[in-house]
Symmetry: C2
Subunit: 687 residues, 2 copies
């Protein structure tokens, strides 16, 4: 059905609804009015950070765009979805074109543009991230002056790029990639090949239908010698004809769990010859005599440095996580105010203790992720020029460790929070028009791409343990965030034995103790395993569960908490009304973390009475923050058409909108086309 | 595209694959061979229980059915899905027709037939459950002799029934339903009406396209007096023409998160007149003079008894949960054996500690749900005739309490386990061909329907607390499972301080203590709240989080554990090889429960050293069970075509099957139809 006939149908159906009419439902509005009013703009500005005006501008400018339409997206074919998302990217991008120079000046602006795209769907954000961050940043980081022209083409969207690392057989283990680039001394070309089925590049965003360029990760072979993984900037489709280049097979990876607006594709190379200049040669080159040269001798280290450049792609996951969770919270909280059940008169389910304790902790986690974003933005702005100069600097190592655990925590928080939103809406959350399955399905992949969470947090724990190893060797702890990690750290006794003990200082004390104690336990486990296993891989792998993994997560939580405290203080300072509630958000966040990993209490010797106190405080805080939650989410929520849920509209007309959406679907009132089957079964069963 | 042209395309693509060929992959086979062989049939028989032969027979008979086809299901339109699922129901049902008499004799047979349908998809199981359990059982439980003919028609599939309780505005709160059935003394008819938009019956399975009959829950109004909710057996579609009956509006609720094979629909009544005999009148009737009569005077109690009959629908959720989790485990475990990553030579990810600790606990939970099914089957077989005679008997109350928490635990275990399977497959789990999104999406609704989990567990905690109230009044504890709950119960000190202390007796001791102590805390909280709030609803609602909810869950876990121990002992007795590993399953289950709710340690005074011991034991058990896991899942897994995942096939050809599936999708190698958009964006962006 074309969109025009569909639109006519919508009008027709609206006039001919078979449902009883329902007057304007003022439940949500009344719920809002229960809370004292506060300055929503100030909350928005501080929460969104330095680019808040840009965000507001982009949202506003697309508020009425016919492209920002979830009904069309949901019911369109995969091909329709590709097109719609591509058009959205085009629309937003042409409103805020960027240049290389601007990006160097403000390395976080790009991410904030992507963010608004993600408010509609992670598919549109990612369509852009792959090109703007994975592709362009790789050229920026690993290329040299001669590649500059490609960067400019990319910023102009003349070239559309892709990032071809993953293969059918290898994802996390980049060193194990199978595609080869064999150097031909005679012609000064590389011959790229996919020798096996498992070596097909797989999942590559924009390769299915769009991209004409790609940065391809492949084993560099010179004179039969494998020099390790290197990156090649190559055309994959003819710019004019859009045909796959000769020697390249391109295809679409097909239907996914969600994100079908992205054309993830596969790439197979058959003796594909590309000139020498395709090698991104900042860290390695080949002399005229055909000899390999690199300032970094160790293969593994070289790969590490190449990967370290992928900062912003990974950073984008924190944005996407926060946004998906925020959209889901908007839906679930507005619905919970509107939905009444039980009691006389019936109560909004948002007034139930269970409902508040289910949802509000996820609202606090949303603040946590956001705080992490502020942290990373500040770090990146302060140091990014240094990173280009010295990719081995301590600051980059530290950022990498923090980014990794933030990525893992943020994506896990998002998925779990969205799922709680889904469950909390009861049967209504099972309608496609709730938008919750889409949000869940898109957030799901955030745990996998840009570094699988289980693999990624190992980077963080390794970083922490390395600091300890330095100390053991008598060297200095080089980390700015981990100065409290010391060999002689005295684990304090549990300091919180009444609610007035629940101060920022005491929380920090708990974390300092807990991180030191977990680090120590992990070191001991490593020692034990060294006796037990004969290779370092097994030693390390068998130190993960309950040890290294916990260490990384607790460190991440701690940083989140600290940053939340400072963000919330800032909010309090700007609004005397919010000052009465806002500091409860980091407080609940931290008790909630402990409630989910109660071994902090066991291991730091918290008494059962003190534990019970905190458990009850958790409930109390959920209740108190719950009284403010509707207008708070109003202040932060995206626009109705970005969110795309009948239950999430700011006007609260959930039931009317649901019925309208359902009556507009195809064939609602029609007899089944397969009526004869019913007759056949009747006959068969009764004979 | 018709299915015929599609099939031709499949053949064509297979011959013309553009991928390098891959020889037979023997990784899975080799992994299997690492484990000593054991008797798989015996494991299957004990695990599946008394109907294991029926299950095997039904599976086998549909093994080659063209209807058992997930590719068709996935890519079909919603209309196609309705048809396919309806046909499957017809096929399976005509193979094992049931009668009323047979059902009375063996009340669990029905559920085992539904189970095999769920092995393909919960949609087909539910298509059948709604008709065979919700509809028929309601007539059995609430109807009288005059309704018998309708039961027989339903068993013959002449009538297709539906169960119309939920409305747009009300689900959990059945007493708040808005549809009215007003008695007209003069004509001896009921006039059924949907007075408001929110009173539209909503989500009603089979109402969208299929059902001709329904049991409708409505407020009975006699002489302007509301007698509370009653049930009416009414035609909704004309048997011959399949048109909606006059006075009835029927439609389809539209696209859902999953389960689109079920035609959930809405129902609106406009002065729909039905004769007196439509009232299911076992517990209430109207005299010739138009006076209301019921042996049960209290409205709420009457509703409770009506609802109590819905046993088997709720029971079916445990089956569906176990099956979805089992299918997902089959996929994730086989994939984990096949998938190699890191180390030299590369290791199967199933050999990683993290991977085992992520997946194996869910395998144990699958055993837990299954044990619960055995428990319920035995209970039902033993008591079902009593239930018909005395719907107020203690046995039914107890069963209801147990069923409720089992339903909630099982569905939560299933959802969480499937999600872990999804994450554990990395990017591959994000392909639609993994089947994991479908399994997750279907399991999701299990937490909501047949009683929302948060609401339902309140039935269990209420039951336990009622026993305590009896004791407080000096009466007897009437529960058979809760005899250990006593007012003078002495909470024991933590009994497990070495691994050899980890005996069944000690675990039971922990649970007895923990349940008694949580019950006591809950009673105290109730007392506190009685001082604080002025109505019983608020008192109760504010005793949920951390108290009543925990009480119910811990009780459920305990019953699961006990039943698992007896099932696993049975397995051990029948197979000396498995005897070496099988008892580790309940052991891991229980430590895993404690690891996820560590307050059991805090509240029962477990020392930090003992806790650390159990934490490490958890990891060790995951590792040990992991060595057996592949052949164990082989023994229990459904057939390949039922599971429907390229990664889940018993033959382990994951990569070949994935590529085949993707190349068979439409338009894989085609240029985008929206190529002009790419050109337009290039122009706009560069101008
Ligand atoms: C929709 C989508 C889009 C994508 N877009 C791109 C793209 O544009 N370009 C690109 O190059 N890639 C892309 N990817 C690929 C993505 O980056 C990979 O899926 C991701 O890196 C994980 O790798 P994998 O899928 O191979 O999983 P694997 O690495 O095989 O992991 C499988 C499982 O094994 C576990 N595991 C693996 N190694 C270890 C270990 N050492 N210790 C413990 N556990 C381990 C993991 O935790 C995981 O559970 C995309 C993927 C998806 C799904
Ligand atoms: C696919 C599908 C098929 C279905 N098929 C049928 C069918 O065939 N026939 C039929 O009659 N129904 C059917 N249902 C309806 C289903 O039974 C209801 O969705 C379910 O009972 C939950 O009710 P609700 O959706 O109104 O949620 P609500 O009751 O509105 O609950 C919403 C939220 O509020 C919370 N909540 C509500 N009350 C309380 C409380 N007292 N304390 C704490 N929290 C509370 C819940 O936990 C939930 O999170 C179906 C639903 C779906 C999604």
């Amino acid at each position: 059905m074309t969109s025009n006939t569909r639109r006519l149908d919508v009008v027709k159906n609206h006039l001919s609804s078979k449902f009883p009419t329902m007057p304007f439902d003022d439940t949500l509005e009344k719920y809002r009015q229960r809370t004292p009013s506060f300055n929503k703009d100030s909350l928005f500005a501080i929460y969104m950070g330095s680019h808040h005006k840009l965000i507001r501008m982009l949202r506003e400018s697309s508020k009425n765009s016919p492209l920002i339409n979830h009904t069309a997206y949901t019911f369109g074919s995969r091909e329709d979805k590709h097109q719609q998302i591509y058009r959205i990217v085009g629309e937003i991008y042409t409103k805020t074109p960027l240049t290389y120079e601007e990006d160097l000046q403000d390395p976080t602006k790009k991410l904030n543009i992507l963010q608004v795209l993600c408010e509609f769907d992670i598919a549109s954000g990612t369509r852009c991230t792959v090109h703007m961050s994975l592709y362009i940043d790789t050229i920026q980081n690993l290329g040299t002056a001669k590649h500059r022209a490609r960067i400019d083409r990319a910023y102009k969207l003349l070239d559309y790029g892709s990032f071809a690392m993953t293969e059918l057989g290898h994802g996390s283990n980049v060193a194990g990639l199978e595609v080869t680039a064999t150097y031909d001394k005679n012609t000064k070309e590389f011959i790229i090949n996919s020798p096996t089925k498992t070596s097909a590049k797989w999942w590559i965003g924009a390769v299915g239908k769009t991209a004409n360029m790609s940065v391809v990760w492949a084993q560099l072979i010179i004179d039969g010698d494998n020099k390790g993984v290197h990156v090649f900037l190559v055309p994959i489709r003819d710019f004019d004809t859009h045909e796959a280049c000769k020697g390249v097979v391109l295809g679409d990876c097909g239907e996914k769990n969600e994100l079908n607006g992205i054309d993830n594709g596969f790439l197979i190379f058959n003796n594909y010859r590309v000139p020498y200049d395709c090698l991104l040669d900042k860290y390695s080159s080949i002399t005229n005599e055909g000899k390999y040269k690199s300032p970094i001798k160790n293969k593994q280290k070289r790969l590490g440095i190449m990967l370290a450049g992928l900062l912003r792609g990974r950073f984008a996951v924190s944005f996407a996580s926060e946004i998906s969770l925020r959209n889901a919270m908007t839906i679930a909280l507005r619905f919970a105010a509107i939905r009444k059940q039980f009691s006389e008169p019936e109560k909004s389910i948002l007034d139930y203790q269970t409902h508040r304790t289910r949802l509000i902790p996820h609202f606090c986690r949303m603040f946590a992720i956001r705080s992490g974003i502020h942290y990373l933005q500040n770090y990146l702005s302060a140091h990014s020029s240094l990173f280009y100069k010295d990719p081995e600097c301590e600051e980059l190592n530290e950022l990498h460790a923090i980014l990794s655990v933030f990525k893992a925590l943020a994506s896990t928080y998002a998925f779990n929070g969205i799922q709680e939103c889904r469950e909390s809406t009861g049967g209504h959350g099972y309608s496609i028009h709730s938008g919750l399955a889409r949000l869940r399905g898109t957030a799901d992949v955030l745990m996998t791409w840009e570094g699988d969470n289980t693999v990624l947090v190992q980077q963080t724990s390794k970083y922490i343990l390395k600091q300890i190893q330095r100390l053991l060797k008598g060297a200095k702890n080089t980390s700015t965030t981990l100065q409290f990690v010391r060999l002689d750290y005295e684990i304090s006794t549990w300091p919180i034995n009444s609610i007035k003990d629940l101060t920022v200082e005491n929380v920090i004390k708990v974390y300092h103790s807990y991180i030191n104690s977990t680090a120590k336990q992990t070191m001991q486990k490593l020692q034990e395993n060294i006796q037990k296993y004969d290779n370092t891989t097994d030693v390390w792998n068998n130190t993960q569960t309950s040890y290294a993994q916990t260490l990384a997560s607790v460190f991440g939580e701690f940083l989140y908490y600290q940053e939340m405290v400072s963000m919330c203080k800032n909010i309090a300072n700007n609004d005397p009304v919010l000052a009465g509630v806002i500091m409860k958000i980091p407080e609940l966040y931290v008790i909630d973390c402990w409630e989910r990993r109660q071994r902090v209490y066991i291991e730091l010797g918290c008494k059962v009475e003190s534990y019970a106190l905190l458990r009850d405080r958790h409930i109390e805080l959920c209740n108190e923050i719950g009284n403010w939650i509707v207008p708070m989410i109003d202040a932060l929520a995206s626009c109705d058409n970005y969110i795309g849920s009948v239950y999430g509209y700011a006007d609260g007309q959930a039931y009317n909108r649901l019925v309208e959406a359902v009556e507009n679907e195809q064939g609602v009132y029609e007899k089944p086309t397969w009526l004869s089957d019913i007759h056949n079964v009747r006959k068969a069963a009764s004979s």
